[in-house]
Symmetry: C2
């Protein structure tokens, strides 16, 4: 399987979406580093290349290693790197294409290992819906497999050692991606974000740290990695996410009870613009698709499935559009292709 | 025929629209006052009533007087008065319902005479398209008919005497209603308005003096009524209007040459929102219908006729919606009905 094959499919974490209300996906990420090896940010080219090669060898010992694709960033052109970023498989930092940078991706895209990002190893496990436990188990399995060959930097006092102190300890970040249009429409989102932040969790946008909440998508994740076992961190996050889901559900119910027409208007207008525009930016597309997703949840759009919208959420991004077109496109050309893509999808309904 | 019958129809000046590009209609208005009679603003109830009664008698001498309907404002409820205003048959001032206020309207709505507005007599003649000459002839005919019985205040030096000095002389205001979305989209409208203003013409919005240019509709009219014969005023206005039409036509051509996609986007989005919104204000409806009208002119919407849009331009107004619903409606209820009206129209296409 190649990168182009990947484009024909949809990440397993989307494809298998169990239609669990506001939750899109759950993610577990481990930060790991090799013992007595300079962290990537300070390492020479030789050291970074060695880390890559050791990881390649270690993968041979991993169960179902044949399911993993791997690319070094310097083998990929800018478009392909952007494509992996848009699919949430690599970070912007990894895409910067320094020596030894690379990624392993399971063919269902549910697991990925970035090499020589901020840490030597950044392992992620994605699952559809609210499945932190399952994501954690899948991450653990892969982590254990790699650890059979790799010798991790670990302190019995601190736990896993990482390039940034904020990851020391478990090296784990657990996060849940939520679609919260109800809280945004009722203008209750900021109090909820503030409350969640106060109890030590971070709320971020669609693309993680520093990104805005495009399409009413919010990631909630743990901030603390030190002094608490993984299971406790995950269970705490899950408990808070369930509370946020309840707030979102209540907000939607209140909207339908008190402002049903306004919601119909919001969803109808989004549909009308998506079905008729000739030019559309990514930001607008995300916002309008968010309204459609809400309309599906509220059973206003019986002919559409939520997972179809979730796929469009990925496909409308610049690299995906260019890859699908087989050409480099200017921003305006992308706006045309993006408008065509959503129009064609809706015409097929 | 009653006021309710009127609602079932469309003003002759719209119905007969000759699809003349950016021109909606041409209007001639005469201001006349009765000799040795206090102007309405200063007149007693008795004087105002006498003016009304004299006009009623004078109408008997007018050709085809049986074609005219007449209402005193105090016979009409607020909704009906608003309806006449929305159909451009009376002014806001007349609707204020003071003693003797009233209007005569020809059944095709092409001619109307307001009594006891700012002047004793305000006679208007409307024609579809650019037909100032025809409108003038129709106004003249009616004016001459009335003058057989009414004795107008006229000075051989100044001409017709009017309540406001700005109307003294011919007492005539000639105006043309233009739809200028091309100049608005290319942001050339302000230079054009400034140029037109500098040569002594006024540019106003859809509802005349002090109103904004909703739906990209602009009225161009003469300011000067003194010292120039009617024919010269009309011919000067017509010449300037032809120049504005040329500017508008050029702006549209340039838009299609240089930004065709943007125009398709503009028209498509308007269509999408009109066809799918659940709530819509008058202002938004006018702006979106303006985009559809442009789309029709540019042959992007082959199934629609411009005159259908021109009718909606009237029907989406508050009194029309309430009259059609047979009930008084709150602003939100009107927004619902308005959205329904345009949706149903587009669904029938």
């Amino acid at each position: 399987m190649t990168l182009d094959d990947l484009l024909q499919r949809h990440g397993g974490w989307l494809e298998a979406s169990p239609d669990e209300g506001p939750v899109i996906s759950s993610r577990i990420r481990f930060a790991r580093n090799l013992r007595e090896t300079t962290f990537p940010g300070w390492a020479s080219k030789e050291v970074r290349d060695r880390v890559w090669n050791e990881t390649v060898l270690a993968f041979d010992g991993v169960e179902h290693s044949e399911d993993f694709l791997r690319w070094r960033m310097d083998e990929l052109n800018a478009l392909d790197r952007e494509l992996l970023f848009e699919r949430h498989l690599i970070s912007r930092e990894l895409a910067e294409r320094q020596a030894g940078n690379g990624v392993f991706v399971s063919s269902d895209e549910c697991r990925a290992v970035m090499v020589n990002e901020e840490d030597h190893i950044r392992l992620q496990s994605l699952q559809p819906g609210l499945s932190l436990q399952k994501a954690w188990e899948a991450a653990e399995e892969l982590d254990n497999g790699l650890e059979q060959s790799l010798s991790y930097a670990f302190s019995s006092k601190l736990g896993y050692l990482t390039a940034c102190p904020s990851n020391v300890g478990t090296g784990m970040r657990a996060s849940v991606m939520l679609h919260l249009p109800g809280l945004v429409l009722t203008e209750e989102i900021n109090p909820v974000i503030n409350a969640v932040s106060k109890i030590g969790l971070a709320v971020r946008g669609l693309w993680g740290e520093g990104s805005e909440a495009s399409g009413n998508m919010f990631q909630i994740s743990n901030q603390i990695t030190l002094g608490r076992p993984e299971a406790e961190i995950i269970s705490h996050l899950e408990q808070i996410v369930l509370e946020v889901i309840e707030h979102e559900t209540n907000a939607r119910q209140r909207l339908m009870d008190e402002q049903e027409l306004r919601v119909h208007d919001h969803v109808g207008r989004a549909y009308g613009v998506l079905a008729n525009a000739a030019l559309m930016t990514s930001g607008e597309a995300l916002d309008l698709l968010s309204a459609l997703r809400l309309g599906i949840d509220l059973e206003m759009l019986p002919d559409m499935a939520r997972r179809e919208i979730d796929r469009l959420f990925i496909q409308i991004h610049p690299a995906h559009l260019q890859k699908a077109a087989g050409a480099t496109l200017s921003p305006e050309e992308r706006d045309v292709k993006r408008a065509q893509l959503v129009r064609q999808f809706l015409e097929g309904k």
